[in-house]
């Protein structure tokens, strides 16, 4: 028997609420397989099991508040035991004598008795607890009537924005929240609502796969992010100088083990751009009719992983050299692909970069990673004829696509910002002008 405990989750995160248990008693699980979904102060994460085995006992259920080091489940060796779970479930509803009869039956080892005794209530409790999980955090400013109304509708009262003084939530606020969720305008109980799908099987074979949690989170997050009024500004930078620089220093960089990438250079330039145009590192607070300007410069970088899109964040890029940024970028990307990113690694960004140049394409319209207000997309550098001194010359041109939140960023500023980035790539000394 092996106990699987809640591992360290990242700095300042010691506890979380179990929002989903992803395995059942009797399931065979592999090392690194997610076993519970945990909602922490910062994000919802899947917690993988450090080891493999068969789930003998679940020690947590939905709604539990758990701490680092707490036992999540107990694993045993051997084959999965679906038959036994079924047998235990089957005793529900029959006379109670069935339960002791099973429990006292000759068992191969004591653990089996434990399994049978816990399998049924655990399953029942899980289904039930999902409907009545406590609202986490501080007491929500809503009257008992309003809280009950929300619960009946399956709304987490803590998600409802309150219109009253100090955020007090009225019954109308709950109704409005539900209406908005139903019309697809917002997040209702964590789900993205949409019109029912047609019956695709009429047209041919289909296969339904459950969304992974990362896919679901991405869908929810981007749907919400899409609500901000977006504009995308395109430009191209002549990266001849950058390419020359990279080639000239390639040998030297190779010795340090760091690959000098365009992304790393762009990130550094962005820190200079943000210093000049601070609204690009702001957030919109409509509730308080204010704009939050961040005095730090952490930049998120979209990383394509087999599990889906992840955005690790490089901290204080304004204080780091391009080499340091390149090295950190390589480390974080590897961590992302190895599923080793912590929540801290993915939080705190003020601006995001997404580089699809390695794959191809001439331009695209990235979606702003709310609550950030801008994102820069890079496409593939292509040799293009450029009119220089009365003739066309071949030049490597890097396509840049800047999507921005038009609520805080005016079109002219976006054009200026993007030109600043392009200019810095074309003539690095320009940033010192």
């Amino acid at each position: 028997m092996t106990e699987v405990k809640l591992p360290e989750l990242g700095e300042n995160i010691e506890k979380g609420d179990v929002v989903r248990v992803l395995v059942n008693v009797g399931d065979a699980i592999k090392a690194d397989q997610p076993i519970v979904e945990l909602e922490t102060d910062k994000a919802t994460i899947e917690v993988p099991s450090a080891v493999g085995g068969v789930v003998a006992e679940l020690k947590v259920k939905v709604g539990d508040k758990i701490k680092v080091g707490q036992v999540l489940l107990v694993l045993r060796d051997g084959p999965p035991r679906a038959a036994e779970s079924k047998e235990a479930t089957g005793s529900t509803g029959t006379t109670g004598t069935a339960v002791p009869a099973v429990a006292t039956a000759p068992a191969p080892k004591p653990a089996a008795v434990v399994d049978i005794a816990t399998a049924r209530p655990a399953a029942a409790a899980r289904a039930e607890a999902a409907a009545i999980a406590p609202a986490p955090g501080a007491p929500v400013p809503a009257s008992p009537t309003v809280r009950r109304y929300a619960r009946e509708l399956g709304v987490n009262i803590g998600d409802v924005p309150g219109s009253g003084p100090a955020g007090r939530i009225s019954q109308d606020d709950v109704t409005a929240f539900v209406k908005k969720a139903m019309t697809g305008g917002g997040r209702g109980a964590g789900a993205v609502r949409q019109a029912p799908l047609p019956d695709f099987s009429k047209f041919g074979a289909t296969e339904v796969r459950p969304m992974s949690n990362i896919r679901r989170k991405t869908a929810e997050h981007l749907t919400a992010a899409w609500q901000a009024p977006h504009v995308t500004q395109h430009d191209k930078a002549d990266v001849t100088a950058v390419e020359d620089f990279r080639k000239a220093h390639a040998a030297q960089m190779e010795k340090t083990g760091v690959k000098l990438t365009v992304t790393a250079i762009v990130i550094k330039i962005l820190s200079l751009g943000i210093a000049k145009y601070p609204q690009f590192a702001s957030s919109v607070d409509m509730a308080n009719e204010s704009i939050v300007f961040k005095k730090y410069c952490h930049i998120g970088v979209a990383v394509d992983t087999p599990m889906g899109l992840l955005v690790p964040v490089i901290r204080d890029v304004d204080k780091k050299t391009i080499t340091e940024i390149a090295a950190e970028l390589a480390t974080l990307s590897q961590k992302a692909r190895d599923k080793k990113l912590s929540i801290d690694d993915m939080s705190g960004g003020v601006f995001s970069v997404t580089n699809l140049g390695g794959i191809g394409g001439t331009s695209f319209t990235p979606i702003v990673n709310q609550p950030e207000v801008a994102i820069l997309g890079l496409s593939r550098t292509a040799i293009e004829p450029v009119w220089v001194d009365g003739q066309f010359v071949p030049r490597p041109m890097l396509p840049l696509s800047l999507s921005y939140d038009h609520r805080v960023i005016d079109g002219a500023d976006a054009a200026r910002f993007l030109r600043f980035v392009a200019g810095a790539l074309e003539q690095p000394m320009s940033v010192y002008l």
Partner: protein, 474 residues
């Protein structure tokens, strides 16, 4: 074999509230209790009889104090038999009334002891003897309550050593009484005996009375109790008890305790160190119901146990062990059985200690806020500045608000003073409604009443209380 839709095991304020509500909603209900009528500890051996006696104690102490107002009474003559029958008549009236109401609601009341046969069947042994009857049910609510804790390894079998039940029986007026435990039960009953003329000594293990309540509230009570009680010994433990010729010899241990105090003989000893859940319901092991570490039945927020058709409420599921918490949980359980998505999620459970002065609080205490490191501001209004408090010669009180610094929301209310228990209800409503300090301030409170202290405490928060000059720090 008879059957019922809902069976409620235990007829206390949780159990009968559940049974009556379920019956009102049209369910077929059976209520089982050992007593002849519903009521439970609260009505038979707790809240109600103690309040009857505390009322008498208050009259006695006011009559004594009245000489200060030029109204001198002679020493009261105490007719213990009559006092006892007053208290018993109150209990009989209330519990008899509940019996009638259950009949009117067509609740089947069975006087007996229930044990589980399985998750769908109970066996009930009638209190009057005779064959056990079996009852099948669709849903059950366990509301078996709690019992007084004994001092592990120390309690001795003696009529002189009482728990709260024994003390409420008023066997006599002892010359001396030792109250073990400075919690609310010990202080309430100790106050009753002190008013009747007993020399009462209170011994408490921790460094203060009423552990859990804010110290500034307790101070008012402690100050008065020092004049009413013979002695209050804090940070003191009872380490031995033995029957002596003329009473109970009690050995106590504390730093700096004089020899004469270490071993003392008391006419009677009241052990009131807490209560334990009655979760040892026979046959519970034949169901999936789980009992946790401290003996409480494990339930979810809808009061459902690990057995989906069995619910549990009241003292048997957890602290605070209070009647009003139990009856609220009762409604949650019944609504959950009716298929509603409900949860027990109060933001304030008021606690009241019916001593003189009363101490009452609800929501977040200042102590708890400090412990959790929450950013709160405290606003206090002293009753000495209140007209009505002076008019009744009871300036020994205070009303305080625990206010969220960021939102100015009222998160906790504490009151000490005459009638504090009545005032705390407004505090509970304020917290549940998410009231801001300004809401309390802007609500007109009747003058001259003690309720004004809630409004004035809110004004203190803003630095402009009419009757206290204490400008807000900038």
């Amino acid at each position: 074999m008879s059957s019922t839709q809902l069976v409620v095991v235990g007829g206390g304020p949780g159990g009968y509230a559940a049974a009556f509500y379920a019956a009102d909603l049209g369910m077929q209900v059976t209520l089982i209790d050992m007593e002849a009528n519903p009521g439970g500890v609260c009505l038979f051996r707790g809240c109600i009889p103690s309040k009857a006696l505390l009322h008498v104690a208050k009259v006695a102490s006011e009559a004594k104090h009245a000489s200060a107002w030029g109204l001198t009474y002679t020493e009261p003559k105490i007719d213990l038999g009559k006092l006892r029958s007053f208290k018993d008549s109150v209990v009989a009236k209330l519990t008899g009334g509940l019996g009638q109401i259950s009949k009117m609601r067509k609740v089947t009341f069975i006087q007996g002891k229930a044990s589980f046969v399985d998750a769908k069947t109970l066996s009930i042994a009638p209190a009057g003897g005779g064959a056990a009857q079996s009852l099948t049910f669709e849903h059950a609510i366990i509301a078996t309550g709690s019992y007084p804790t004994r001092i592990p390894g120390l309690s001795i079998e003696s009529p002189r050593v009482m728990d709260s039940t024994g003390a409420l029986d008023l066997p006599d007026i002892p010359k001396s009484l030792l109250v073990v435990g400075g919690g609310y039960i010990g202080l309430e009953l100790g106050s009753v005996y002190a008013a009747l003329g007993t020399k009462v000594t209170v011994v408490e293990m921790t460094d203060g009375l009423l552990p859990g309540a804010d110290r500034d509230l307790v101070t008012f009570l402690a100050r008065r109790l020092e004049t009413v009680m013979h002695k209050i010994l804090l940070k003191t433990r009872v380490v031995g008890m033995e029957e002596a010729k003329d009473g109970i010899r009690v050995l106590m241990e504390a730093e700096g305790l004089t020899d004469e105090n270490k071993a003392q003989v008391f006419d009677r000893v009241l052990v009131s160190i807490g209560r334990k859940p009655n979760s040892a319901v026979p046959g519970l092991d034949k169901t999936a119901v789980k009992v946790g570490d401290r003996g409480f039945i494990t339930v979810d927020l809808a009061m459902r146990t690990a057995e989906p058709n069995i619910f549990a409420i009241g003292d048997v599921v957890g602290e605070p062990m209070l009647a009003h918490k139990a009856s609220h949980e009762a409604r949650v359980a019944v609504e959950a059985i009716q298929g509603h998505k409900v949860a027990f999620e109060p933001q304030a459970i008021p606690a009241v200690v019916f001593t003189d002065p009363e101490v009452a609080w609800c929501g977040l205490t200042e102590t708890e806020a400090k412990k959790q490191g929450l950013a709160v501001e405290i606003a206090k209004f002293p009753w000495a500045a209140l007209g009505r408090a002076l008019a009744i010669d009871r300036p020994d009180g205070m009303t305080k608000l625990v206010i969220d610094s960021a939102t100015q929301r009222v998160l906790g209310v504490g009151v000490v003073g005459a009638g504090a228990g009545e005032l705390i209800a407004e505090g509970a409503l304020a917290i549940e409604m998410g009231a801001l300090a300004s809401d309390l301030k802007l609500t007109i409170h009747p003058h001259p009443t003690m309720s004004e202290t809630l409004m004035e405490a809110a004004e203190v928060f803003f630095g402009h209380s009419t009757h206290v000059y204490r400008p807000k720090k900038k």
